[in-house]
């Protein structure tokens, strides 16, 4: 943590957990007998309970969206750029809720949880969860928090897909949906990257068909490779060139296979540190949730038809150098929304940071995001 907490940070935060005893039937047909969600909140819920916003997280992030857990923390939550006093998601005006999704590994029920049927960790037996399942569990969280209607449901990447699903599944329960750097479904190329990541994990000899906990090991190499691959898709050619170029760690070529280029060192570091903080079975689940997401599949591929029930107003944002979910993918959503006469604003932000841009304090991005959220806040107080 910095020596003093910046004025525009929510500061020290403590996660909370909530237990749901009612069984949850999942899209895959299986049922979770009960489950737990871990979540964080920032800001105050107003008396009318009308200023709550839900933050949905992406593939490998979690409930820790903003602030610090302790004074020892080196880094704040993953969306510190956008959440805090005076920031686009202004915690002086909004009550912000961010849960860790089902199937995660940070405290919500997932592969690391003890399976009541066996007394052992679920591991690979944890059911496949979908974006729809997440939305269902988040709606139950909203019920328990006494939030009938979100002022906004907001997310980037896989989080944006949840914000879209929310608007379809619970049209009355959100006023705004903010979908950032997302897509209405994955392309074959997106799925291909996910498959390589899964194969890297599953072919690791330490994977043990997902029961590595019982062998007291983790598929370290596989998960590391999966993350290294994923990380390449989060950056852009330009951002990698800007960050690393062809810079050599020792200033010269050594004619070997050790780390020589800075970019290699960076990727290995990203991969290694990910292994310390993420569970391989969770990673497999999250990539599957991405692959399966396709709300238009229920309407014969017609996204506009899938969006028919939608009542929320939309803000859609994309970034020019994002090739994982390129601006054209956001425009597919905008097109479907305009076809149905749904209110939507769309901003295409000039940025070189690739897919990761949605996490960064890019001035035009923050400006557009803030302008929109100010309107959401004004309605809230009306």
């Amino acid at each position: 943590m910095p020596d003093t907490i910046p004025g525009d940070s929510v500061g020290l935060v403590t996660p909370q957990t909530i237990q749901f005893d009612a069984p949850l039937t999942l899209d895959c047909g299986r049922t979770l007998p009960g489950y737990q969600l871990i979540y964080e909140t920032y800001g105050e819920l107003n008396a009318a309970r009308s200023n709550a916003v839900l933050i949905c997280h992406a593939l490998s992030s979690d409930h820790h969206a903003a602030g610090y857990h302790s004074t020892e923390d080196r880094k704040p939550g993953w969306w510190e750029a956008c959440i805090g006093p005076g920031k686009p998601i202004d915690t002086d005006r909004f009550f912000v809720v961010c849960p860790n999704n089902l199937g995660g590994c940070k405290g919500s029920t997932g592969p690391l949880t003890i399976n009541p049927d066996t007394g052992k960790r679920y591991g690979p037996d944890f059911p496949i969860v979908t974006v729809g399942d997440w939305v269902r569990s988040q709606a139950q969280l909203a019920d328990r928090l006494g939030i009938e209607r979100w002022a906004a449901v907001i997310g980037g990447s896989l989080g944006g897909m949840q914000a879209l699903q929310w608007a379809i599944d619970h049209p009355q329960r959100l006023r705004h949906s903010i979908v950032i750097a997302a897509a209405p479904k994955l392309s074959a190329q997106n799925i291909a990257f996910n498959e390589v990541a899964r194969q890297a994990i599953m072919s690791d000899p330490d994977f043990h068909a997902g029961r590595y906990y019982e062998h007291d090991t983790v598929p370290r190499r596989g998960l590391m490779l999966a993350r290294m691959l994923g990380h390449i898709t989060y950056l852009s050619d330009e951002s990698m060139r800007k960050k690393f170029g062809r810079e050599l760690r020792q200033g010269k070529i050594n004619y070997g296979f050790d780390v020589e280029f800075q970019v290699e060192s960076y990727l290995r570091y990203q991969g290694r540190s990910f292994v310390e903080r993420f569970d391989a079975n969770s990673y497999l689940l999250m990539t599957k949730a991405l692959d399966y997401f396709d709300p238009a599949s229920k309407t014969g591929g017609d996204l506009a038809a899938a969006l028919k029930p939608v009542q929320a107003h939309f803000l859609v944002i994309s970034f020019t150098s994002d090739w994982r979910f390129a601006p054209a993918r956001s425009r597919e959503m905008v097109k479907a929304l305009t076809e149905g006469d749904n209110p939507v604003a769309y901003a295409e932000i000039e940025a070189h940071q690739g897919h990761d841009a949605f996490l960064m304090p890019i001035p035009q991005y923050l400006k557009v995001f803030r302008a929109y959220m100010e309107r959401v806040a004004e309605e809230t107080n009306r």
Partner: protein, 200 residues
């Protein structure tokens, strides 16, 4: 309610209440906001400029950041009552194609543009031998966004060739006022032209 810029005022008069409008190059969203608040008009605006996008969002306008030169393929045929293009026709890559696109997605089109046939422009070229600099066309030739300037006669000739029926025409000066000379010789005295048209 604040007063509308006079040319937008004229467009406002042409647009029926509760209609659907697409505004190409909607700027800061002034017209669309006005139409929404006063005429319950449902609308989308297309805009490219970053600052304008933020202003539109602040104004609650449904703005979509895209380049009009890339076409309107994201919009289905006959999905709007009016497609408006204010002071933008002369700045697009293919004005003729944009007119087709306007009448594909909209029932009627409305455009406004600076009349290059205005006497002051003619004078500056004829006697100064240089590209005109006026209140309506203030940038030098190398900085102007206006790459396809035309006169009233040019525009009407193009509409005729394309089988586009002109429903209404209004000509004004840069203060957006009209006068008897303008009515007599519009192509010589109008600084700004406004047209409403449909497929013939």
């Amino acid at each position: 309610m604040s007063a509308l810029r006079p040319d937008l005022e004229i467009i406002d008069h042409w647009i029926a209440p509760r209609s659907r409008v697409l505004d190409l190059g909607c700027g800061d969203g002034t017209l669309l906001r006005h139409l929404r608040e006063n005429k319950q008009v449902e609308s989308y605006g297309l805009e490219i400029d970053d600052d304008n996008i933020a202003r539109c969002i602040k104004a609650g306008v449904n703005v979509i950041q895209m380049d009009i030169d890339a076409g309107l393929s994201d919009f289905d045929a006959d999905s709007f009552d009016y497609v408006v293009m204010s002071q933008t026709l002369q700045a697009v890559q293919h004005p003729d194609r944009i007119l087709d696109e306007m009448l594909r997605v909209g029932r009627e089109g409305i455009v406004t543009f600076p009349n290059f046939g205005h006497w002051l422009n003619r004078l500056q070229i004829t006697f100064g031998g240089r590209m005109p600099l006026t209140r309506v066309l203030p940038e030098p030739w190398y900085q102007t966004p206006n790459i396809h300037l035309c006169t009233l006669r040019d525009f009407e000739q193009l509409c005729h060739a394309k089988g586009i029926e002109i429903l209404q025409r209004k000509v004004v000066n840069s203060a957006h006022r009209t006068g008897p000379l303008m009515h007599l010789l519009p192509n010589l005295f109008a600084e700004i032209a406004l047209y409403r048209f449909r497929r013939g």
